[in-house]
Symmetry: C2
Subunit: 480 residues, 2 copies
Amino acid sequence: MEKININELLSLLKEKKFKEVKEIFENTPIIDISDEVNTLDENELNENITYLLYIFKIVKPEISAEFFSNLNSEIQSKLINSLNDEEIQKLVEISSNDDLTDFISYWPANVVTKIFKNTSKSDREIINKLLGYKEDSAGSIMTSEYLTLLDDMKVKDAISLIRKEGRKAETIYTLFVKNNSFDLVGVLELDDLIFANEDSLLKDIISKNYLTCNVDDDQEDVAKIFKRYDLNALAVLNEDNKLTGIITIDDIMDVIEKEKNEDIEAMNKVTPLEHSYTETGVFKLAFKCIPWLIILIVFNIGSMVLQNEFQDIISSLAVVSIFLTMVCDCAGNSGSQASTLMIRGLSTGDFKTGDFFKILWKEFRVAFITGIVVAIFNFLWVLFMFSVQIIDIQPGNSAGVNDDLLTWVALSGIVSLTLFLNIILSKTLGLVLVFGLSKFKLDPAVIAGPAITTVMDIVSLGIYFGTLSWVLSSGLLSGL
Amino acid sequence: MEKININELLSLLKEKKFKEVKEIFENTPIIDISDEVNTLDENELNENITYLLYIFKIVKPEISAEFFSNLNSEIQSKLINSLNDEEIQKLVEISSNDDLTDFISYWPANVVTKIFKNTSKSDREIINKLLGYKEDSAGSIMTSEYLTLLDDMKVKDAISLIRKEGRKAETIYTLFVKNNSFDLVGVLELDDLIFANEDSLLKDIISKNYLTCNVDDDQEDVAKIFKRYDLNALAVLNEDNKLTGIITIDDIMDVIEKEKNEDIEAMNKVTPLEHSYTETGVFKLAFKCIPWLIILIVFNIGSMVLQNEFQDIISSLAVVSIFLTMVCDCAGNSGSQASTLMIRGLSTGDFKTGDFFKILWKEFRVAFITGIVVAIFNFLWVLFMFSVQIIDIQPGNSAGVNDDLLTWVALSGIVSLTLFLNIILSKTLGLVLVFGLSKFKLDPAVIAGPAITTVMDIVSLGIYFGTLSWVLSSGLLSGL
């Protein structure tokens, strides 16, 4: 495998060393060449666009189409504007129509017009139809370039048909078989065809027990089917249950990648980006972050009200405020641990929403053990911090509390008790939220985190200050 | 497609209606049947194990092997213990050796012994070799069941060889071509073979510009190659650069799924589980959560020390402590927003660690805009909360500050300034951490979150209390 460098490529093009360029395109993965070209900035691009156009004259159309499909949308638009009609026509013909549909949704209107001018009427209809499916639907990633066979064909005839027509199809590894009235009756893997007797009829070897999806199905659900059943390609049916397209595994890999990024972004309080970071403007990026920060500031109102109520305790014994961030953080963290495990369990099918009580009982025991261990550790840790005076109680505080071992034990005990209750409540809350949101088809990855933090902040502060004010008002501490 | 129900299946088995059972196995995706059997609890399983054994006598070996491979390890072990030697031998023969290796690492020793007793010496050697590769390496997911062709074969001879030998291979869609000295010289996709002239020699049609990976490569890196180059299968080379196995796309789908779960778990402070939630014991689950909670409590020491230093301010003006959790949360959130975008950008190849300064400048501008907008919103929001007395300043506080508009403006301003600086610093820190950790090949998904929270808690509190103590000691507020 050869490595390619953009400057090398450009100077070969400038010097019209087309044989060498051709060789590079034959011996390097095309995506690596495209990616080198993608590194050009606007000035470099404008300087070199004429040289890049040579590529479309030198290399085979299939290769230039692949090269083109991996360029970023800015470079694609520039190229389309500079290519002549004939070259565009060739490019459109070779490109698969799901790729083309994908590009068109990124390009400026004048480029799209230029493309449509060079597209046959039937292709234009297909592209418009594909553009009509809503984002994230199966329809929007399917292709209409698949191979159908007839069920009364013999295996050997099917193979010669594939030889003749297969190059136009997006895959020949999964074949779709119709009957004489053009209804889909079965699916065939190419290896079944290869292994079958040459004179068998397709109807005798097709699998009738095949899977399909609908144009309106969510892409993520389609990806789940691919993962569960190890598919190469899946038939897509329209509203009338007729075969209207297929989805192939490479498109599903992109869906899985996108879904992963969206989940992770949502969990980390960024509204998912439509394009990559470098392709997104500074203002747009800021406004993907701002709403979340503002919402979380507003949601903090509950815990502000509570803390406001307990200002007396804070001003009479300032040391109690030192534990506030830690107590709230710990509740938030243990809640998001539970919700993460629940989201994973439900999404991988490890358990179902119907298993609620079984899982609740298990998670309750997990929370109990976690709570006990963390509380004991924290008890000793806070005592340690008091004893080495990392934290201390102000002498002459108006709560009338002494800076001695008994007070340390009491305070440390209250913090630890709060943590113990927090962990049990937050894990339960995490579980209930995820099951509840899933039941109502809401996305727990987005909502569970902020909801847990908001609710648990209030609960944590309530438990902590509640216990504190009871202990302080009882006079137990100051009486010691 | 038929739906299957475990009770129905068991009663058919009990009534020895084997023809119906056979039909079910022919018309239902096998993984759906396995999953129904997986719902049996231990008692039900013990009661019905003899009936389940019938399946291995009734259905074809390839189907029973697939059925078996999708059962959970507990049921697999029980079945192996009850099957006779001949049946085990058949099962082992049919199962692909990467699956088998995978099972064996889950099963108890007595079951493994029983398996090895029924495995041919050569298979045993292969399994042991596969077991020797370290977890998460390419070697541990590769299979040795692939088809190699010779480069001086004609296309038609290659096809008839595939017909004869292909069933034993894990895939025939990617074929590996060796020369006479048994070195890998090229890779061939089945469709290239189908489209080629029957009398061409393989050496003339193979792609010499193929990709490979090494047995020790990390699975995640291998998955990246599959995604980038849309592969079906990839050759795995050993230390001597000889072909030793292949990895297929279905195994890579599992790697991607596992990787996604691990990333999400790590980001949410759960040590990734090896097995599913339901298969993991309560104690083990608790100890996946406990270390993180304890580490984060310990890391809180820095912010405790700082808060301890400023107890004077807190006790003289308790209202300032109300903003602590919000200020720290906001810094943590905006930092994790930045680190998420950076992790995604680096992992998808949108930018490289070498683009540090370019990205830093962009993210700085994003942070600036975000900071301004959030700070202005917060300023108005805090003023609003003061004016409707959701929060208020205690009369007669020892700081000598009045509960009036000017004080509200000053406090609100200090909180907003802190937020503004926090957002800029935390986003910068998120970026620097991710680039730094990636540079040193550490996993930013695991380390960045807790590190940002810990550092930003200290920075936030420093800025907040620093500004506050300056304003208070200046007498500006009490003098008003």
